[in-house]
Amino acid sequence: SAVISQKPSRDICQRGTSLTIQCQVDSQVTMMFWYRQQPGQSLTLIATANQGSEATYESGFVIDKFPISRPNLTFSTLTVSNMSPEDSSIYLCSVDFEDNVRYTFGSGTRLTVV
């Protein structure tokens, strides 16, 4: 399976600022996915990112709040914009692999907004 590196692993940010999270994969993948895990909760899909096209967002998530870039087949970024304490979560990226099924995750970015 693919090896996924996420940076930063954690950060503490002031409200109103933005944080960009990077996801690097060791092989070319068609689709990359971004998830949010709020404290004590399960994972929620934010968006799907294809190379060369705009990301597709799930209900409740918008591009202005969570802009995503996908410049090539091994890299993606997720920005959490104009942060508030409610954005404090673990953010994870994942990739499609083997039968179009994603099951490999990055180690996550633990974000705390103060």
Partner: protein, 112 residues
């Protein structure tokens, strides 16, 4: 739409005792099934997965899971729990169209 249910929010077992974590899914075809473990503040680590073939799947850290189509279940088991197994466990189901759903998770506490 597919869905996953983990009936137990929290389970406590004694160290050395056996463990079974339940997972039930709803899906019209044969799903892809997964179990993940997550330590506090960390990412997800894949314990095992089922795509096809033998319905008893062996994973890492001594875990195994059995796919039972008739019961729509994919329960996770371990014969002897170690204190380091204390964590959150997530069951997930996926199809071949990039749709993946997670259960709410089961928190495992291990008593000395």
């Amino acid at each position: 739409a597919q869905s996953v249910t983990q009936p137990d929010i929290h389970i406590t077992v004694s160290e050395g005792a056996s463990l079974e974590l339940r997972c039930n899914y709803s899906y019209g075809a044969t799903p892809y099934l997964f179990w993940y473990v997550q330590s506090p503040g960390q990412g997800l680590q894949l314990l095992l997965k089922y795509f096809s073939g033998d319905t008893l799947v062996q994973g890492i850290k001594g875990f195994e899971a059995e796919f039972k189509r008739s019961q729509s279940s994919f329960n996770l088991r371990k014969p002897s729990v170690h204190w380091s197994d204390a964590a959150e466990y997530f069951c997930a189901v996926a199809n071949g169209n990039n749709d993946m759903r997670f259960g709410a998770g089961t928190r495992l506490t291990v008593k000395p």
